[in-house]
Amino acid sequence: MVKFYGLLRRQVQPPVLEISTAELNILQLLQLAERRTGQNFLDELLDPEKKLLTGTIILVNGENIRLKQNLETRVSGGDTVDLFSPAGGG
C-alpha cells in the first residue's frame, strides 16, 4: 500500500494506492505508482537525476529508506510505503 501526504495530495486523490506486484525497489514502485495514478508527482520527491530531494521522506513500514538502501530498498506485497514531499514546521 502506498500512502501520499503533503503536497502530493494536490495531485493524487484518493491519497492511498493499493499495488499488488512482485518485489521491486522503491524507484520502480514510484514509477509504477505514477503510471497507475496518471499523475507526474516524482519531481516533488526526486531531483532530475532521480535522487531523493533534500527533505523527501519515504518510509517503508515506518522506517526511513535513507537508513536502508535508499531508492534501491526492496518492497513487496504487504508493505506500507509512506511518501512525504519535503516539509518543515516547528
Partner: protein, 589 residues
C-alpha cells in the same frame, strides 16, 4: 550607524524616570541584538535572586541589527526571568512589531519598576509616553490592540497582554499584530506584574544600510533561494506547519495522551492537509515574509489565526481530542486571553492523567473536547480548577503528589515530539536553557526532516556536537532577529552576508558561531547561579523507563547518559554542567 538605531530606552514604571543609553560598539559585536543583547543587558541589571514578579525585575524588548531590513525582519525578542521555570528566558514573536519599534528610533526597551495603576507605553520618535490603561485592564488582546490603535496614529503596532497576563498566569503570552505570540515562558505574566498592559509603537525612521548595492543584490539572491526551496517556497505556504502532524505520527513519536503513546489514531483528521481542505480561509504572513506559514481560519461560529502544529497537538493528540473545530477554537481563545498554547494544552493533559489515576478528584476525561474552552478561560481568570491549571504542569503534578506525570524540563512543557523517537532532540530538550523547548536546537530538522543532512534518529553518536552547534546557531539567529524558517533554505554564510551588507561589519562564519556560543554560555551561567545544574538537565522518568508500544519508535527509550558527558565536554563545561574558567575566558565572559 548602520543596522542598529544606536539607542536603547530605559524606563522605571514606578518612578517614571527615563533615560536613553547608547550601546557601544563592543557590545554590538559581542551580542548583536535580540536575544543575545537582551540577555546581556538582563544579566547586568538583575541577579539570579531576582523574583520574576518583583518590581526590580527587568523586562526587555529587543530588536536586532537586521530588524526592519531583509525578509522576515519584523520580529522582536522579549527577555526576562521566567515565572514558569525560574531560568533566564527569551521569547520571540513575528508580525511587524519589531520593525515598527525600530522605526520609532529604538533598538530596544528596558522596563523595570511597577506602575501604581495600569499603564501602556506609547513609543515614538525615540521617546516614550506613559499612558493610562485603566480602561483597558480586563480587555482581551484583540480588544486591547483595537482600542489602542484608535488612540494612536495609523500603522501603530501593539504588543499587549490579555487577562492571563493581568492575572499573572505563569505561562501568559504577549500578543502583537493580532495573533502573533511571544508565547513561551510567561513573559506576559511579567508584564502583568508591572501593571503594563501594552506597548504601542509607531515611527518613520529607516535603518541605514552599509552597502546598498550589495544589500540589493543579496536580497534578490535570498528571495530566489527561499522561493526555490520546496519547503519555504511551497510546503509552508500551502499546508502550514501542521503538515508535520502526519509526518511525526508516521514516525511513531506524535505524543498522545500525555506522552503515553507515540501514535494518535486520528492524526489524519487534525493534520495540515485536513486544515487546508476544511478550515483554511487564507495563508497569512509576517512583515516582509515571502513564506506565509500563518493560517487564517474559520469555524462555523468563529474566525481567527491558527492552529499551527504545536497547538494542533497540544489541544489534540496530547488530550486524545480529534475535534478540529474544538482545537481551533481553543487556539483562538488562547490568542484572545494571552496564553501559551503548548503549556496550556500540556497542562490539561497532565491534569487528565492525574484525574485518571485518582490523584486529583476533578473529572477530566481523555478525548473530551466539550470542556476545553471553559478550561482555557478559567485558567486565564484563575477561576475554579483553572486556578490550579494556571500553575503549569510541574507545580500542578507536584501538588497532587505525582511529579513524574508532568511532561516538562525545568518547568517548561515539552512540545510535540516524543524524545524516545529522536535521541538528539532528547538531548536538546534536556539541555535547553529555557526548559522543554524545541526551538533551542531543532534536531527534528536533521533527524526527521533531513535538513540540512539526514541523521539516524535512534543513534546517540555525534549528537552532542550537533546539538551544541544548533544551539549556538539558534542563539545567533535569535539575536539578528530573523525567522528560524530561513535556516531551512540557507546556511550560516548567508546570515554573515546579510550582516555584512546591512551593518558593514565583516564577521566571519566562525565569529558568528562564537557569538552564539557566548550567548548560550551566558544564559547557562545565569541558570547555574539560579541553582540549575546537571540534575536539571534531564527528562521526566517516563522517557527513560516506559518503552513506546506501537509504531516505528516502539521499544525505544531515551539514552541521555550516552550523550550528556560528551555534550558538557563539547561545551567546555565541567561534569556538573558548569562552564569551566577557560571556557569563560575564551568567550570573554
Amino acid at each position: 550607524m548602520n543596522g542598529w538605531m544606536g539607542k536603547i530606552a530605559k524606563i522605571d514604571l514606578g518612578s517614571l524616570e527615563q533615560e536613553t543609553v547608547a550601546i557601544d560598539d563592543e557590545m554590538r559585536r559581542r551580542y548583536l541584538g535580540g536575544r543575545g543583547l537582551g540577555v546581556k543587558l538582563y544579566t547586568d541589571l538583575c541577579s539570579a535572586k531576582t523574583d520574576p514578579f518583583a518590581p526590580d525585575n527587568a523586562l526587555i524588548f529587543m530588536t536586532g541589527p537586521l530588524t526592519g531590513t531583509v525578509m522576515t525582519s519584523g520580529r522582536y525578542a522579549v527577555v526576562s526571568r521566567s515565572p514558569l521555570t525560574g531560568t533566564i528566558c527569551d521569547s520571540s514573536s513575528g508580525g511587524s512589531f519589531g520593525a515598527v519599534l525600530k522605526s520609532a528610533g529604538l533598538d530596544g526597551l528596558v522596563i523595570q519598576g511597577r506602575a501604581d495603576h495600569p499603564v501602556y507605553l506609547y513609543v515614538h520618535d525615540g521617546g516614550i509616553e506613559v499612558r493610562d490603561a485603566s480602561s483597558l485592564w480586563g480587555l482581551n488582546t484583540q480588544q486591547t490592540q483595537k482600542a489602542i490603535q484608535e488612540q494612536t496614529p495609523a500603522k501603530t503596532s501593539v504588543a499587549c497582554i490579555g487577562p492571563a497576563g493581568e492575572n499573572r498566569v505563569a505561562f501568559a503570552a504577549i500578543m502583537n499584530d493580532k495573533d502573533r505570540a511571544a508565547g513561551r515562558g510567561g513573559m506576559g505574566a511579567v508584564m502583568g506584574a508591572k501593571n503594563l498592559k501594552a506597548i504601542a509603537a509607531s515611527g518613520s525612521q529607516t535603518v541605514a544600510i552599509a552597502d546598498p548595492e550589495g544589500y540589493k543584490a543579496m536580497n534578490a539572491r535570498i528571495e530566489r533561494i527561499v522561493d526555490k526551496n520546496p519547503v519555504t517556497g511551497k510546503s509552508l505556504q500551502v499546508l502550514g506547519t501542521s503538515v508535520l502532524v502526519n509526518i511525526i505520527n508516521a514516525h511513531g513519536m506524535f505524543p498522545t495522551e500525555n506522552f503515553r503513546r507515540g501514535m494518535f489514531n486520528d492524526a489524519e483528521g487534525t493534520s495540515g492537509e485536513k486544515i487546508a481542505e476544511s478550515l483554511l480561509q487564507r495563508q497569512s504572513a509576517c512583515y516582509k515574509c515571502p513564506i506565509g506559514c500563518g493560517r487564517t481560519t474559520r469555524t462555523k461560529n468563529k474566525h481567527g489565526e491558527g492552529p499551527e502544529y504545536e497547538t494542533v497537538w497540544a489541544f489534540g493528540a496530547q488530550l486524545g481530542v480529534s475535534d478540529l473545530t474544538a482545537i481551533t477554537e481553543a487556539n483562538y481563545a488562547c490568542n484572545e486571553l494571552g496564553l501559551d498554547t503548548i503549556t496550556m494544552g500540556s497542562t490539561i493533559g497532565c491534569a487528565m492523567e492525574l484525574s485518571e489515576t485518582g490523584a486529583w478528584k476533578e473529572k477530566l476525561d481523555w478525548g473530551d473536547a466539550s470542556k476545553l474552552l471553559a478550561l482555557v478561560e478559567d485558567t486565564a481568570y484563575r477561576r475554579g480548577i483553572g486556578a490550579e491549571l494556571a500553575l503549569g504542569s510541574k507545580r500542578l503534578a507536584e501538588k497532587y503528589g505525582r511529579p513524574e506525570l508532568a511532561m516538562q524540563v525545568k518547568g517548561m512543557e515539552i512540545p510535540a515530539y516524543d524524545p524516545r523517537g529522536v535521541q538528539g532532540m532528547a538531548l536538546s530538550y534536556a539541555t535547553s536553557n529555557r526548559g522543554g523547548c524545541h526551538m533551542r536546537a531543532y534536531m527534528i530538522s536533521p533527524e526527521i526532516l533531513g535538513h540540512p543532512v539526514f541523521l539516524d534518529r535512534f543513534s546517540t553518536v555525534g549528537k552532542a556536537e550537533i546539538v551544541a552547534l544548533f544551539q549556538d546557531i539558534s542563539a545567533l539567529v535569535d539575536s539578528t532577529v530573523l525567522c528560524r524558517f530561513l535556516q531551512i533554505a540557507m546556511g550560516i554564510s548567508t546570515f554573515t552576508e546579510m550582516l555584512r551588507t546591512v551593518t558593514g561589519l565583516d564577521f566571519s562564519d566562525e565569529e558568528l558561531l562564537k557569538i552564539g556560543r557566548r550567548i548560550y554560555t551566558l544564559e547557562r551561567v545565569f541558570n547555574n547561579r539560579a541553582g540549575f545544574s546537571r540534575g536539571d538537565d534531564t527528562l521526566p522518568p517516563r522517557f527513560f523507563n516506559e518503552e513506546l508500544q506501537t509504531g516505528s519508535s516502539r521499544h525505544r527509550v531515551v539514552r541521555l547518559e550516552e550523550m550528556l558527558d560528551d555534550y558538557y565536554s563539547v561545551r567546555g563545561w565541567d561534569k556538573e554542567g558548569v562552564p569551566l574558567p577557560r571556557t569563560l575566558a575564551e568567550l570573554g565572559l
